[in-house]
Amino acid sequence: MSGASGVLSLLLPAAPALPCLLALLCVAPKVRRWAPAMMALAPVPALLAALLVPQGISPLSAPAPLRITLTLDAPGALLLGTSAVLWMAAGAYAAVYLRDDPARPRFAIWWLLTMGGSFGVFIVADLSSFYLAFALASLSAYGLVAHDDTPEARRAGALYLGLTLFGEALLIAGFVMLAAGSPDGNPLIADAVAGLAVSPWRDAIVALLVAGFGLKMGFVPLHVWMPIAHGVAPVPGSAVLSGIVVKAGVIGLIRFLPMDGMLSAWGAAITTMGIVTAYYGIAIGLTQSHPKRVLAYSTVSQMGVVGAVIGAGLWSGDAAAPVIAAFYAANHILLKGAMFLAVGIAAASGARCLWLVLAVSAVLGLSLAGLPLTGGALAKIAIKGPLGEGMAGSLLALSAAGTTMLMARFVIRLQASADGSSHRFPPLALGAPWLALCGGALVVPFVLFQPVTGASLASAFSAGSLWKGLWPVALGLVATTALAWRGPRLREIPAGDVLLLAERLAPAVSALSEGVGRLDEGLRRWPVAGLLVLALIVAFATALEATR
């Protein structure tokens, strides 16, 4: 290994390690004061690693007791690089946004830990490190969700934690079953997945993994936490939660599902689930009044699209599906991050500059919907590959019309949420990272398109491609106009929708807990305990007697 590549390969471990290390150093009060400044700088090694470290080299293993193995492949690099950009922009933004918050250092620490975990999931290659990074990102993100100590945030936080722990339990069960057949206690993910086809518990493993990762991505009906959690977090927190943390589920599906056509039935199921989620997110999102919740439902919908792409790859055994799904997800990271940050910018803008904020947000929204000549259009063209021109492809193309409507809804609600009376301008330190991110979100897909798809950019500008991108957006705009002009007033569906049904179970749960309390009370009485001792002796003797 030459000297230069040695230094480069150090960048890879530095990407997750630096944020975690900085967070640990913040235990010292003197360092803690600088925590907000670290938020924007900690992602630098991750960005450099995504750009400079050669992809596909042999995995990098840490010395013995650490059992961490890192590797960088194309999907990982795409997600690592774009998420680093969002972490930097949102970090600079957060340092200003939370200027007057006394709990700002605490926010910064959880921010750094979430960052370390999210970088980790994109580059780890072995099973137990993946679990570690996934758990770190998921659990630390609680600190972002529940930062504001309001009753609403407490409820959202409790829900988030509960479902996160549940998801971790599903995943560890799946991981253990996946590794149970391998001689090594902690196999590389690729090796473990290679044995999936012959595993006696193949379908159970896939079900556990899809449920665990689907919970993170917000597959219906596991999406309930997303609009609630993303709605209550401070604006930069929502941006990284919706932009990056959900991508831990995407990389999970990419890494753990073998795209070799062996699981085509599962592919069909995941594609269906993705399409249902894509439409469901749009439908409920259209009724939302808060711009952040509109965006959160849009994330649900977009992750449905990513799920459908991965499912299609699984269905047809398309080895290119992972990198294309990652490309689509990377585009979503930047756009969704920029749109969430716009919510804070709009709130700080007076009437004079609000139009500019709205215009930029509209462009971002149209890019997400895939308007031709935007970066988002390239992402939509790319996913045509795995999805094909069949029913799944057509349904997802049509969903872009829904996305257009949802984005129009977002811009309208953004205007309503702004303080239009004053003539304030947002502070430059808040506006600059946002504008930089917006620029990145619109440009980056153009840079990545050719390396990812192998098709030339010119093909994306052919008349056929332009028309395929244009009609859904035009349809969406017409529908929005019609809806605003003559449409029924939509009644807002409370965030979390189906969760309200689940809350009906609360009395049963508390009755169960009461029952356990009474049982314990009973067991602690002496006569009961004495009888139990006798009963247990008899039970043991009987069980053993049977062997004689």
């Binding site: 600190g143 518990w201 309390g517």
Partner: protein, 507 residues
């Protein structure tokens, strides 16, 4: 060659270390009784250092030779004399005990600036008695010595519960004493039955007799039943956990740490010896499901009870009752046909769970004690803002909780993965379900404490200062539990040292 002969020939100068590990803490009681109360603590600390060195030497010797360390006291071979033996598992227990006992000593030490002693002289004497008893449990080879060790352990542990002499703790201590004696009586009855049937109390010789006779004797069956229930009562295994919550929650923090981390592990260790070494595979396979069912009940019901508690120390106490349930899930998993139990991943997982629970639980009880001292109460509902007052203690509690929840990096995570792997490989899905659900419950009760402490504002007001040294001890123990997460995910060879020789010569 009989095992007795092989034992005495294996006895070496290093074997005397085993005697010293038991005797040194006991001998310390004499100067402690004679010297001035203020000096007791210094003597105790000196002995803690000495005892730690002895255990360290035993561990180094066993690790270096890769064989168990034997000693036959006075050269009299069993059944006439008394044999001591430290195999791989014993050494792990001895080291775990030494680390927790020494850490507790450092935690309980009086500050230099303090005008009065932090702990009464009785605490230090009981600590020494407790340590001697635990060491004896881990190295004794015959049922009578084990009985003596268990009794000494009970009599050292019970007064620790009621050191403050309040009405409530006396009640709890009495309850504990009665139940522990109940367990001892059952154990003694079983010992008598075995002696009557086989004419020896030496465990290796008993194991040989048991394996030599084809169908098990009725006395053996009854003895195993009595011992299992007796030890379950002493270990507070569900549904016999009635004494544990008030006793462990009422004791001073240093004492709670010892009780929860170590004392209940002694009967569990004994159960492992009885089922794995004495009973033999067919009987062990018949008894294991019952033990596992009791364990599952502990994980679930005591887990829910921990979630329901309003006071921190009660929460931790119920969590102890829940966590030991995992150890009993090991019995059916380790007893797979065709493999020696100590070579299975379940055996390693169970041992690791036992050890990492000891470290994390000791850390959590110490942290809880410091929190109660600083706030003047331990009501979880009023913990808002605690993270700012006692960051190190909350951190230590959280790290300990990480291990209980089975999240990486921690010993609890590795243990959980190993037990789960064993359950999956043997397709015992209900055990896998118990482990996973237990992890969720643990997550619930740990986060119920950590989340308000870190994220709620207001509420907590400090009424007393807490020394950084004591917080450091709690944090150190929690870090040990985290470091245990770096052991490889495979059966550990060290745990099998000397075990095959114990019963391997049987026909």
């Amino acid at each position: 060659m009989t095992p007795a002969a092989s034992l005495s020939s294996a006895s070496s100068a290093f074997g005397a270390l085993l005697v010293l590990a038991v005797i040194v803490p006991l001998c310390g009681l004499v100067p402690m009784l004679l010297c001035a109360p203020r000096r007791v603590e210094q003597v105790a600390l000196l002995l803690l250092g000495l005892g730690g060195l002895i255990v360290g030497a035993i561990a180094v010797r066993v690790a270096a030779t890769g064989a168990a360390l034997d000693d036959v006291i006075g050269g009299w071979a069993p059944p006439l004399g008394m044999a001591l033996r430290a195999d791989g598992l014993s050494v792990v227990m001895l080291v775990m005990t030494a680390v927790v006992v020494v850490a507790t000593g450092l935690f309980a030490r009086t500050d230099r600036a303090a005008p009065t002693s932090a702990m009464p002289p009785a605490f230090w004497m009981l600590l020494m008695g407790l340590w001697s008893a635990l060491n004896l449990v881990f190295v004794a080879q015959d049922l009578f010595s084990l009985y003596v060790a268990l009794e000494l352990l009970t009599f050292a542990a019970v007064p620790l519960v009621c050191l403050d002499g309040s009405r409530k703790t006396l009640d709890a201590a009495l309850r504990y004493l009665l139940f522990a004696l109940f367990g001892s009586v059952l154990y003694l009855l079983a010992t008598a039955l075995l002696y009557g049937a086989y004419g020896t109390l030496d465990l290796p010789q008993l194991a040989q007799h048991v394996r030599a006779s084809g169908t098990p004797e009725p006395a053996l069956v009854l003895a195993l039943a009595l011992m299992s229930v007796g030890m379950a009562a002493k270990a507070a295994l569900f549904p016999l956990h009635l004494w544990l919550p008030p006793a462990h929650a009422g004791a001073p923090a240093a004492a709670s740490a010892l009780l929860s981390a170590l004392v209940i592990k002694a009967p569990i260790y004994l159960l492992v010896r009885i089922w794995c070494d004495l009973a033999g595979p067919p009987l062990a396979a018949a008894g294991a499901p019952l033990l596992a069912i009791m364990g599952a009940g502990a994980v679930w019901l005591c887990g829910v009870m921990a979630l329901r508690q309003g006071r921190l120390k009660l929460l931790i106490a119920y969590s102890t009752a829940a966590q030991i349930g995992y150890l009993f899930l090991m019995f059916p998993l380790a007893g797979i046909a065709g493999a020696a139990p100590w070579e299975t991943i379940a055996w390693t997982g169970g041992a690791l769970q036992l050890v990492s629970h000891a470290f994390s639980k000791a850390a959590m009880f110490m942290a809880a004690g410091l929190i109660a001292e600083a706030l003047g109460h331990d009501r979880i509902a009023d913990f808002g803002g605690l993270g700012r007052i006692l960051p190190v203690s909350v951190f230590a509690f959280g790290l300990g909780g990480l291990s209980l929840m089975g999240l990486p990096p921690s010993g609890g995570f590795v243990a959980k993965v190993m037990l789960l792997t064993a359950a999956v490989q043997q397709e015992r899905w209900w055990i896998a379900g118990v482990i996973l659900a237990g992890g969720l419950l643990a997550g619930g009760y740990v986060l119920r404490v950590v989340v308000p402490a870190l994220f709620r504002t207001g509420g907590a007001v400090a009424v007393a200062q807490v020394s950084p040294r004591r917080q450091g001890v709690a944090l150190g123990l929690a870090l040990v539990a985290v470091v245990l997460g770096f052991v490889p995910l495979q059966p550990i060879g060290f745990l099998a040292i000397g075990r095959a020789a114990l019963i391997g010569s049987a026909p």
